[in-house]
Symmetry: C3
Subunit: 181 residues, 3 copies
């Protein structure tokens, strides 16, 4: 017996956009976001807003960013989205102010129920509160809240919520020290 | 003394294809597989078969996949190959039925003998049995067999065989629980 | 209170090249290095030298390499730079002879002072001594020296210096055995 019978999988994901909008976004994502050409951040903000993203001011978007659904994305003021960051937001990703997501970081919102043959997709939102720093190549798992000023070190994997003003490292990410000035 | 004297390295890899076929595959890999354009999976299956892959039915191929040698690839029925999956199959990769390889996973089949100055390439096959789920950004090392219904969690690194119906996490991947329905 | 107030961030990075040179390099990096087309290594060496890299002989450059600043890069003789290697050298990266950097490895030279509101950028050089092998998907952090013949295994993260003739694994990378022939 196979646990996952992928033939029995049902597409239950609510995309949240019409098919033409989805196709158009795939194109714009390729041309302006996944591209290595350093288009101005303000231009990228403009495009994301056209597709329904809720964006603050002065957000920096580096090249080679991959965003799944802009209409499920909210970013506050003065945030940085680094090179090769992958926001795989099948579900909502809410980023508050002054958040830095360093290069190569990965925000994962999808999971599967591996106990069911139908291998149901289960999505969960991600919430990065103000002042959070996600280190290079770090990973945030679905349903994770990173509380204010939390730091996730390079390559760490946040599988549970991160506490305020705390520095985390490793897989799974564990607290190593307080963030003090 | 330097252990690895890369000047003395000998190319011993058996590519398993003629030079024109190899060059053509590099082109097709770039145009149809590494591309972010979502070409239909059935079309990608057709191309892979032309190049000698042994494929079952209803395989889903997401965009941005990197495959080294299709003629050393076998995939069963109802499998999913996620976005940004990298099948670096210098050696044979045998994937059975109902296997899910999530986004960003990496199948590594090459190693070097670091005890020899000639730094000999040593390849090893990978075998993913039916019902296996390889999580996002997970890594499978050479010579690893993932037995039926094994689950490798996000970011985990399988350096040894995975047992049936067992969930693994971490680097190196260690068993954390049974997969029960 | 937010620790990092990204509005107050000052760009202190010394790029080390004129703006036209920087823009030209971004283009050449996209066209010849990040590209999946397997241009000859000798041609890539030629281009890197034009941009101020200090290179030895017989260096192998695989496709899909991302280099930040060639004028802050030095590579000795008989080195290999694997596919999808990312040399994010805001600071100097000095690679000696017979060094192998395997596919997907990441050299990180930037950090931020997370104790300061201004979130100051702090860069640190990386030095890979002769005979070092950086495994696939491994990460080197700023200010790290990998001493002669050190081996960093697949997916490991070097946060401190690696000792001579020693094999390291994990995050953070810890010594597991001596490298003996």
């Amino acid at each position: 017996m196979s646990f996952q019978n992928l033939q029995s999988f049902k597409h239950t994901l609510i995309i949240g956009a019409s098919k033409p909008k989805m196709i158009l976004w795939i194109l714009f994502n390729i041309i302006f976001f996944k591209s290595a050409i350093p288009y101005p951040s303000i231009f990228k903000s403009f495009i994301l807003k056209l597709f329904g993203a809720n964006l603050g001011i002065k957000i920096v978007f580096k090249p080679c960013i991959n965003i799944k659904f802009p209409w499920k994305l909210s970013i506050g003021d003065y945030c940085w989205i680094g090179e090769n960051v992958w926001i795989d937001n099948l579900d909502f990703v809410i980023i508050e102010d002054n958040v830095c997501i360093s290069q190569g970081a990965f925000l994962l919102t999808g999971n599967h129920n591996y106990k069911k043959q139908s291998f149901d997709l289960e999505t969960g939102p991600i919430n990065l509160k103000s002042g959070v720093w996600i280190g290079a190549k770090a990973i945030i798992c679905p349903n994770v809240i990173c509380n204010k000023n939390a730091v996730l070190c390079v390559n760490a994997v946040a599988k549970k919520n991160l506490s305020e003003n705390t520095v985390y490292t490793g897989d799974p990410a564990l607290p190593v020290r307080k963030r003090i000035s």
